[in-house]
């Protein structure tokens, strides 16, 4: 060994030192900024992503997901499985074993009673728990001993990792929330804004819709973490301002949700102070085709119901032609830049469940024209609009008020005009569109239009519940007060049968195969749903912040305990 390599070795050793001898609280303060401010720190009373992410630094579930979507143990010693006996052979119960010596932020021990209590808290019918669906099908949650929790289900449950898994379903401290059950839940202001947790940080100050101040949790289970002594989340402003505060002025270390125009992204990234990171989850911007007639001439109560099939969108050739005419690459570049990718799937991820369906990625205007021509849709009167049996191909295309969506609408309208389809555009306030008010004609459930565009995704990594949404009986109608997720009123008994098969299948490879088939049935085979862009969440972090691993399957701040200051 010569002197040079010896010196190099020494230099390397010093470079590694900070990581190797990391200690809790040595790296000062980490500053985060969210364009929407945090309202509440209790994920059971809010399903706003901002609130859930902020809370994930403080309260933790039994298990979570890592950046690849794989389950990781958090408060338990191992992930239960049938093999290790944690899940019963008949799939009706799951048993979690808490880590020994686990403490709450105030130093008291975490016990199985806390987990049982959290279940009661969310399942109380008067509590208005936002995560109730995670607890669906649970018969009982019981503490076998101080460190063991057994959850029993009403029926075999192929995916038992819903309750207490992921940042939306953390464990609350019984002592703190005991008086907050049921109707009292919303009135417990202090616990809701400053919950005690097991996470790397502890809330020290909370101003509603503004700032959350935190300090390192002295009782965190890993004595060397977190590297930061304190953390602060400042909310408010807009995505542009948040991105600027990290990428241009360097006031903040991390900004969540910095979805800004692609040219601004490029300009800020070029300054070299930080980087944009993208988490690709399951969010897909899509067009939904209405299978029922939304004509205003129909009486209320029959309009847009299965009684009246759509005059032309029921023709599969029309739906396919509309999809073929769209250039998804251009849409992505115009709207999302690095924060998006063209897709043909409604289940675009995780890789295991994503179909290899790429046929829609190249625009084919001529093909679309030919398809319409062959199906008998021709322009006989020379007005540029194709018709057949006296029915014009003219479409009312609705979406929410959002600059990117209006760009998309304008582009798609032009492409459709090229193939002889007339389009009228409509933009609705998002709070009305998504508000679900059965009295409003403009909700996305009522779908009083021919085509509508929005984005949807599913929680976690398993698409079963999401694919169930396209079953016949999930169609919104006057009978069910316009509740339901099958906006298209798509109905195919073969699809329903396959969904039933999926829910009864345990083998993962088989599940994936079925999920891919279901995805293809509603997308490429039928054209009922026309996926456009797979949207990621764009976040930014400064070069002075290390350890960030973007995660689309759980809270983006899932590994905040490992974050450190780059010196």
């Amino acid at each position: 060994m010569n002197l040079k390599s010896a010196l190099l070795g020494a230099v390397c050793a010093f470079a590694m030192a900070p990581a190797a001898f990391a200690e809790r609280g040595t790296d000062g303060e980490v500053k985060l900024t969210f364009p929407q401010a945090v309202s509440i720190m209790n994920p059971y009373l809010s399903s706003g992503t901002k609130d859930i992410f902020a809370a994930s630094m403080v309260v933790e579930p039994l298990a979570g997901y890592d950046d690849t979507g794989a389950l990781i143990a958090k408060l338990v010693s191992e992930i239960p499985s049938v093999e290790n006996g944690g899940i019963s052979e008949d799939l009706t119960s799951i048993t979690w074993k808490l880590l020994p010596g686990l403490l709450w932020g105030d130093g008291s021990p975490v016990t199985a009673e806390d987990v049982v209590f959290t279940g009661q808290y969310c399942m109380d019918p008067a509590g208005g728990c936002a995560q109730l669906s995670k607890f669906e099908g649970i018969k009982s949650i019981e503490a076998v001993d101080a460190a063991t929790v057994k959850i029993t289900f009403n029926a075999p449950k192929p995916n038992p990792f819903t309750a207490f898994v992921g940042s939306t379903s953390p464990v609350l401290q019984k002592a703190q929330f005991a008086a907050c059950l049921g109707a009292a839940a919303p009135t417990c202001t202090d616990p809701n804004s400053m919950p005690l947790g097991t996470g790397p940080f502890k809330v020290t100050g909370f101003t509603v819709n503004d700032t959350v101040s935190m300090e390192a949790n002295a009782n965190y289970r890993d004595a060397t973490k977190p590297a930061f002594a304190s953390a602060v989340i400042k909310g408010g402003g807009d995505a542009e301002g948040s991105a600027r505060a990290v990428m241009s002025t360097g006031e903040f270390d991390y900004a969540w949700n910095t979805q800004i125009a692609p040219d601004s992204q490029a300009a800020m990234a070029a300054e070299g102070k930080g980087v944009f990171v993208v988490a690709f989850g399951t969010l897909v911007e899509r067009l939904e085709m209405n299978m029922t007639d939304p004509s205003a001439d129909l009486p209320e109560g029959e309009r847009a119901t299965v009684k009246h099939p759509h005059p032309f969108l029921t023709d599969i050739n029309v739906r396919k032609a509309l999809s073929m005419a769209i250039d998804r690459q251009t849409l992505t570049e115009v709207g999302y830049g690095a924060g998006g990718a063209p897709t043909c799937n409604i289940v675009p991820a995780p890789a295991l469940y994503a179909s290899d369906n790429t046929g829609c990625l190249t625009q084919d205007i001529e093909g679309a024209k030919a398809l319409l021509e062959a199906a008998g849709w021709v322009d006989t009167n020379g007005d540029g609009i194709r018709e057949k049996d006296g029915k014009n191909l003219s479409i009312l295309y609705q979406s929410t008020v959002n600059p990117i969506r209006q760009d998309f609408q304008a582009l798609i309208k032009d492409w459709w005009a090229e193939i002889g389809v007339e389009t009228e555009l409509k933009a609705i306030d998002p709070s009305v569109f998504f508000g679900g008010d059965a009295g409003s004609p403009d909700t996305f459930q009522k779908f009083y239009a021919d085509v509508e565009m929005y984005a949807n995704n599913f929680d976690g990594t398993d698409p079963e519940a999401y694919l169930t949404q396209y079953k016949c009986d999930k169609a919104p109608s006057p009978e069910n007060q316009w509740q339901g997720e099958n906006m298209n009123r798509f109905c195919d008994p073969a699809y329903d049968a396959m969904v039933a098969e999926l829910s009864g299948t345990r083998d993962e490879a088989k599940r994936a195969e079925l999920a891919k088939k279901l995805n293809d049935m509603v997308t490429k085979d039928s054209g009922i749903v026309v996926p456009l862009v797979h949207r990621g969440t764009l976040s930014a972090h400064s070069n002075a912040l290390g350890g960030v691993k973007i995660n689309a399957w759980d809270s983006e701040l899932w590994n905040v305990a490992d974050w450190f200051r780059v010196k």
Partner: protein
């Protein structure tokens, strides 16, 4: 004067009650739902349960009566309890924000200090800039200074704060690195360095708002001065051999201030109302930012309470302006 004030106060009560009803109905009838911010992954049954837990499914008049009771009885009782440690309110439910489940008045209490410091400073600064400009512009009408003053006032009037604010951020924060872009509300002023930090973070929002305020007030000041400059008493004062300084600053200014003071008093409710755009842009967690956040989230109790407080302030300051007018100008008497 006293009877006039009393009569006005008594008249204000039914007016305010009527305003509160109108606001409530308007806010309630506006389309949208408190659940619209919730991701689509939450199933409809769960949404319905959440709405019920908020009490948002109750008929509008039930909610209105409840709100009236909470606003006029529970909240004042809570305030008294807080001050004197009594237990008037018991455990009656306060007005809770649907967004944060925190009492609306706690949120307002957290936010008033920021709004008063930032918007109040901007208002005072605006007045301090506007007065000399208005006075001198009128004294030297059509001079270069007057033309410049008019130009600045026009800019202040016509450039919206979202534009001037963004411009300031790019110049002073991104290029020059003088000021932070986000207001740190956790900063405590304890010593000189923290005071400097506070000044730095206030600089941009205060500049933006002061420009807008100064523009309006300087125009009032100028026109009021011009009106008085031509009066007989000014000529008399000059004829008596008084210096220009005494004529302008003692005689003309005093008389010209009467309408300006009322304009300033009428503008005070807007300080409490905060500045929606500026606060949002700079991350000042004031009342304006709270209002816009609540509107976005369809947080009806918050919007309703804030809007009603603004209504009360406007009514009160109108009355104060009227009374001040009578006090300042002996010619005006309310009978």
């Amino acid at each position: 004067m006293l009877t006039f004030t009393l009569r006005r106060l008594l008249l204000a009560l039914p007016t305010l009650l009527f305003i509160s009803l109108i606001i409530f109905l308007l806010v309630d009838l506006a389309p949208g739902s408190p659940m619209s911010e919730i991701p689509l992954t939450v199933p409809p049954e769960v949404r319905q349960k959440m709405i019920e837990a908020l009490g948002a499914d109750q008929p509008v008049f039930v909610r209105y009566i409840l709100w009236l009771r909470q606003f006029f009885w529970v909240e004042p009782a809570n305030l008294i309890d807080g001050c004197f440690g009594s237990n008037l309110a018991g455990d009656e439910q306060r007005i809770l924000s649907w967004q944060s489940r925190a009492p609306v008045f706690t949120v307002i209490g957290q936010r008033i200090p920021q709004t008063l410091t930032v918007i109040g400073t901007a208002y005072l600064l605006g007045i301090a800039i506007a007065m000399p400009i208005g006075i001198y512009s009128a004294y030297r009408q059509y001079s270069f200074f007057d033309q410049m003053g008019t130009l600045v006032a026009m800019i202040g009037f016509s450039v919206p704060t979202f534009f001037s604010g963004t411009l300031f951020i790019i110049i002073f924060a991104v290029w020059l690195h003088w000021f932070p872009t986000k207001y740190d509300t956790t900063l405590l002023v304890t010593d000189w360095p923290s005071f400097v930090l506070q000044l730095k973070q206030m600089a941009m929002p205060v500049m933006v708002l002061a420009l807008a305020n100064a523009a309006a007030i300087s125009r009032y000041m100028r026109s009021s001065m011009l009106e008085n400059m031509g009066q007989d008493y000014v000529r008399t004062a000059r004829a008596k051999g008084m210096t220009e300084r005494v004529v302008v600053l003692k005689h003309v200014l005093r008389n010209s201030l009467i309408p300006v003071v009322t304009v300033i008093a009428l503008g005070i409710p807007s300080i409490f109302g905060g500045a929606i755009i500026t606060e949002n842009l700079f991350g000042v967690n004031g009342i304006g930012a709270a209002l816009i956040g609540a509107i976005h989230a369809n947080d009806l109790p918050m919007v309703q309470t804030l809007a009603f407080i603004f209504a009360v302030l406007i009514v009160v300051f109108n009355l104060i302006a009227d009374v001040l007018y009578g006090l300042l100008d002996p010619r005006i008497r309310y009978e």
